[in-house]
């Protein structure tokens, strides 16, 4: 009896209720609150709804067109869509690591040729050689030098990269005269259970492919 009284103690019940964690249900429009004031609801008119529907339809129409397969229909639509998509930067593609994953590892270097005939090797930042914190902070280097510089559609910027490297290596009496960008790569070892290569033991990038030669102009060094 004593224990029952304890259990039915209102204070204790209230404490337990707090522990049960009551849920506040957000109210839907028009739902009664039981309180004097109904929930405040921002009005939304028919014109607003029409504008929103038009906006969403236009947005997803642009986005789906952007990622649709190449063809005359897409070309015709892109003629109208491209300016809008680029001005608002809604162009997007989420095909990272697909359809096939990359099967090589690589890094970029530059050979800088000077007036006196000497050559200097410059290695663009390699993420795997940076410490964790620097790797995290300087991830944009990877995007710029690994993902963009050697590949289309950014090949037109290779002269700018080479020019920057030349400027960064200027000497008063021995100016750089030529810069060559080199792609250093190695195919990943195949996933062969008999000759398995661990993730931590990948081979060096021993193949080299020069892909851009830039002749330094006198105005580049100003």
């Amino acid at each position: 009896m004593n224990s029952l009284t304890k259990r039915l103690n209102p204070d204790r019940l209230l404490q337990n209720l707090v522990k049960v964690v009551p849920i506040v249900k957000p109210m839907e429009a028009g739902e009664s609150t039981g309180n004097s004031s109904p929930p405040a609801v921002k009005p939304f008119g028919k014109v607003d709804k029409f504008l929103v529907c038009t906006l969403l339809f236009s947005y997803f129409f642009c986005v789906f067109t952007w990622v649709s397969p190449e063809g005359p229909c897409k070309d015709a639509l892109l003629y109208f869509i491209k300016p809008i998509a680029e001005a608002t930067s809604i162009c997007q593609s989420w095909s990272v690591f697909s359809p096939e994953t990359r099967n090589s590892n690589y890094h970029e270097t530059a050979l800088i040729y000077f007036q006196d005939g000497s050559v200097k090797l410059y290695e663009f930042p390699r993420m795997e050689k940076l410490d964790y914190l620097t790797r995290f902070r300087r991830e944009k280097y990877r995007k710029m030098f690994c993902d963009c510089m050697p590949w289309a559609p950014y090949t037109q910027f290779q002269s700018d990269f080479a020019r920057y490297v030349a400027r960064a290596n200027t000497c008063p009496f021995n100016e750089p005269i030529m810069v060559t960008l080199v792609h250093n790569w190695r195919l990943m070892p195949p996933a062969d259970p008999n000759h398995w290569v661990n993730r931590s033991n990948l081979p060096e990038h021993t193949n080299q492919t020069p892909y851009h030669v830039y002749y330094v102009q006198p105005e580049d060094m100003r």
């Binding site: 707090v18 009551p22 249900k25 039981g34 964790y132 991830e139």
Partner: protein
Amino acid sequence: MNFSDLAKAINHFLFAPKSPLPMALVRICVGLILLQDTLVHLLPDFKFYYGDNAIIPIESTICKYWFNEPYFDIMLLLPPGDTWKFAFFIVFVLAAVCMTFGLFSRTSMIVGFLCLLSFDSHLELNQNDGDVFLRLTAMILCFSNAGDALSLDNVFRARKAKQQPAPSGYVLSAPWAQRWLQLQVAFVYWHAFVCKIAGFSWISGMACYNSSRYEDCMRFPLPIVFDNLFTIHCLSWGTLVIELFLWTLIWFKQFRYWVLLGGIALHLGIEFTMNLPMFEWIVLSTYFAFVEPEDLSKFANIIRSYFSKLHFHLPGKARLPGPQSSLNTRPT
């Protein structure tokens, strides 16, 4: 289902008033990620990317990349000189701070988005998928009711009106921007999934072998998992399954949280093994848009009751089901 039913369903989906709580959480996360982007990734190399002697001068970008297409870049309107660009950068950081705290929410979200758009257009080459998704989320936030909850604006509004907030806590409004964000997230997974199944390496279950061996993207070592054929198969196919569910089953309430849990595991796994800052966190932060406001309130109450047990006082109070608010609460 006839046209009228469809119109009603769309009307309910986009415009039935909802709590702004999920979008407010997205806003806070996006604000924090914008601060990470600006202060951690851009600030140390600001002149290298955006200065007058940047690695890719803006003139090159205009003539070699923009061609005659319209791009949005406020920095082109600034007077020449790094100082002005840096002042613009400061505005960007302030907008991100205000966005996080919900101060001048709408304005800060619009300013933040326009600044982000300008920096992205100014130099396209340092943008990864995280930047693209951040930009899209920031754009959608500009149209949202994200400033109506968990914001200083809300506090000031309540003080000004000298009244308690509405019984539900927040002003309800049409959640169309939240739906837009949900559709955008589903679109991301749809496209990722469709692109992956077109490739042999994903179907054969070997994709994670190569992708885990990108030296430029490696973060922490994870032995055994990526050095074992069985786990590599499981991870490759598991990725496909989770991505499939994240644009299909996620729309069904009974599966939603399990699917989101799978998505969280996927992105945290990538975050641990691959050095792709921002992308995983910005995607994970948009998951708040899929959480029902009542579940968020439930979670907040659990946290509150937990802390109240520890004798900490958190802002707000747990609402008890009682005579005054019995119809406003739904105990489990």
